[in-house]
């Protein structure tokens, strides 16, 4: 996996910490961005100029871990809004992996119906190895 950086979008601070921890232990060696909900994530993606000044190598992130249930703007609402941004800003290569506490089949199907969504994780993976293999399979397509 060739990653520029990773963005974690989740309203629960403990979950962001746990996923970051697993990514660190997997020694991916990339910078990890955080956003607390879909609204913040949208702002992150639309402030390209700021990012290109500060860290052009890292932006946009190659991988986004996106929680579904968040206040203000949830995962699915974010994806809807993001479809519009994809072409405009050249974000077609950004890969999304959805996170959720409940694994309802219709949520899975709905998530995978978006072309940019390549994987689906039920919170929380048991170990960093488990997370890594899930992420690898997301990039295999």
């Amino acid at each position: 996996m060739n990653l520029s950086s990773i963005l974690i979008v989740d309203d629960c601070e403990s979950d962001r910490y746990l996923i970051q921890r697993m990514l660190r232990r997997a020694r991916l060696g990339v910078h990890i961005f955080e956003a607390t909900n879909g609204e913040a994530a949208l702002r992150f993606f639309t402030s390209r100029e700021t990012h290109e000044d500060e860290d052009p190598e890292r932006f946009p992130p190659t991988l986004v871990l996106l929680d579904i249930n968040m206040p203000r703007l949830g995962g699915f609402d974010f994806l809807e809004a993001f479809q519009g941004l994809r072409q405009e800003h050249g974000y077609e290569a950004v890969v999304f992996v959805m996170l959720t506490s409940s694994a309802r089949e219709e949520e899975r199907q709905r998530a995978l119906s978006y072309p940019c969504v390549k994987g689906f994780i039920t919170k929380l993976p048991k170990s960093s190895e488990a997370l890594l293999s899930l992420l690898r399979s997301a990039f295999q397509e």
Partner: protein, 500 residues
């Protein structure tokens, strides 16, 4: 065999026998439409309509979408269109029938199309042969006579007539005849013979831009629509009457009414089951999330201890603590919500002023006010028949909300509780000068588990649904008004004065 299926089979049998009766019924309806009804209907209709108009005046707003008003104990509160559809769905509505003479669904307004997205859209002929539609959707400006005939016939197959044009139908029918620019009211068909009796021409009332659909059948819905669209077509009541009279509606109705009462009960059970199922899913999700996080954090702590890396251990323990507190609060709120729903409202003589002041003191002592000034303005009799437990929960929740969402930019934040007795009803207003509720969230304010200022204050999202359950069980009504300068909740409760 389902209730509605049995109803329809019986209806079809009787209907084919009573073909001629339908035609005669139509004729008689036409004649009766021209005569005035009993004084009883007239008086009740006028009072009711005047009151609704009064409420509408206060709430006049430009409408692009339809706003449904729920009528509870004679008062109304507003919800947005999606909630309108949701409640129709949970009330058992599955199909919507449109009047073919006025245009295809493609020509419907955005609001009508939104409504149609949730339901199967049928033509009248399809509707007659399927489960009786609960709603007939139509937009037409027929003349008064044709309206009467059309309505009498439509009433015979639907429990609810919903009109997005200038015509509205209710427990009594309210029709705006745009040609005469007046309001003509018809009485609801009686149980016995579905006779249509016009109440009166309420031409004395000023023409209104919006109407209300009062209680119809077994559904209590009041809606408001803008008569901006006037359909070019005219309802061909005659055609429909011919169609339906061939089926002999009159006899079919009687049987149908009997069987459909059972339908109502079944639908109520379905609705409650759906509500429970949604509640169970959300609860389980909201509990499992934090539990999964706690499990992950414990694993991380053990890993770090085993590696001898202690830097993050303390912080992780604190994370677990915070999650545990959240879970505890959620459990308490779930219990409160169930009790709000199932408990029996037990009224006793209560001194409301003392109750409110007691809550303020309690908040003061526990530090729950957090610098917000709590004011009381209570002018009610010293003894009111109230459920102390429910009132306490309602007040505590709303006052606590006012404190939670106080604006940090305001020098003197306050939460004010005002109580008055108006028309034998207790009206309590809890207002604040805080952040206000963002407009997009207002329609979903009382939906379980929704949180609108999660960055400001944590919560289970159950506080307001608990309040709403209590208010509903007390037979009352709750409304909210909010903008950036603050929020006001207004609760109205009936039956609070003691019997002499």
């Amino acid at each position: 065999m389902s209730g509605t299926l049995r109803a329809n089979l019986s209806a079809a049998i009787i209907a084919s026998v009573g073909g001629l009766q339908g035609w005669l019924f139509f004729q008689s309806a036409q004649q009766q439409a021209a005569t005035l009804a009993s004084e009883q209907y007239h008086a009740a209709a006028q009072v009711r309509h005047a009151r609704i108009l009064g409420v509408l005046e206060q709430r006049r707003q430009s409408l692009e979408t339809l706003v449904a008003f729920y009528q509870a104990s004679g008062h109304v509160s507003a919800h947005d269109f999606s909630l309108f559809s949701e409640n129709l769905l949970s009330g058992g509505l599955r199909s919507v029938c449109w009047n073919t003479t006025t245009g295809a669904p493609e020509s419907f307004s955005a609001g009508e199309q939104a409504l149609c997205r949730h339901f199967d859209v049928l033509e009248p002929s399809q509707a007659l042969s399927s489960d009786p539609p609960l709603i007939v959707l139509s937009a037409f400006t027929a003349s008064g006579e044709e309206q009467a005939g059309f309505v009498s016939v439509i009433f015979s197959v639907s429990e609810l007539f919903y009109d997005v044009g200038p015509v509205g139908f209710g427990e009594y029918l309210v029709a705006n005849n745009s040609i005469q620019n007046s309001i003509t009211a018809y009485a609801h068909p009686s149980e016995a013979g579905r006779d249509l009796q016009p109440v009166a021409s309420l031409a004395a009332l000023p023409p209104v831009d919006s109407y209300d659909l009062l209680r119809l059948g077994n559904m209590q819905l009041v809606y408001l629509t803008h008569p901006a669209e006037t359909s070019p077509g005219q309802a061909s009541a005659l055609t429909i009457a011919l169609m339906l009279s061939a089926l002999g509606i009159v006899g079919a109705l009687l049987v149908r009414n009997l069987v459909l009462t059972r339908e109502v009960v079944r639908r109520e059970v379905e609705h409650r089951t759906a509500e429970l199922s949604q509640f169970a899913y959300r609860t389980s999700h909201d509990i499992r999330g934090p539990l999964a996080s706690i499990t992950g954090l414990c694993h991380a702590i053990l890993e770090d201890l085993s590696d001898g890396e202690l830097e993050e251990v303390e912080e992780n323990v604190e994370r677990i603590q915070r999650l545990a507190v959240r879970l505890d609060r959620l459990s308490g709120d779930i219990l409160a919500l169930t009790q709000a729903d199932l408990g029996r409202p037990e009224a006793e003589p209560v001194d409301l002023r003392a109750l409110i002041e007691g809550i303020h003191d309690q908040f003061e002592q526990t530090g729950a006010l957090r610098g917000v000034r709590a004011e009381a303005d209570v002018q009610v009799p010293a003894r009111l028949m109230l459920s102390r437990a429910r009132l306490s929960q309602i007040l505590e929740n709303l006052i606590s909300n006012g404190v939670k969402y106080a604006s940090p930019e305001v020098a003197e934040p306050w939460v004010r509780t005002r109580a008055r007795l108006i028309d034998h009803r207790l009206v309590i207003e809890i207002s604040d000068n805080g952040l206000g509720i963002p407009e997009g969230y207002l329609p979903r304010l009382f939906v379980m588990f929704e949180r609108f200022h999660p960055d400001v204050a944590p919560g289970s999202g159950l506080g307001l649904p608990i309040v709403k359950k209590h208010v509903e069980r007390l037979g009352g009504d709750i409304q909210v008004q909010s903008d950036q300068s603050g929020t006001t909740f207004t609760i109205t409760l009936p039956n609070v004065t003691e019997e002499p």
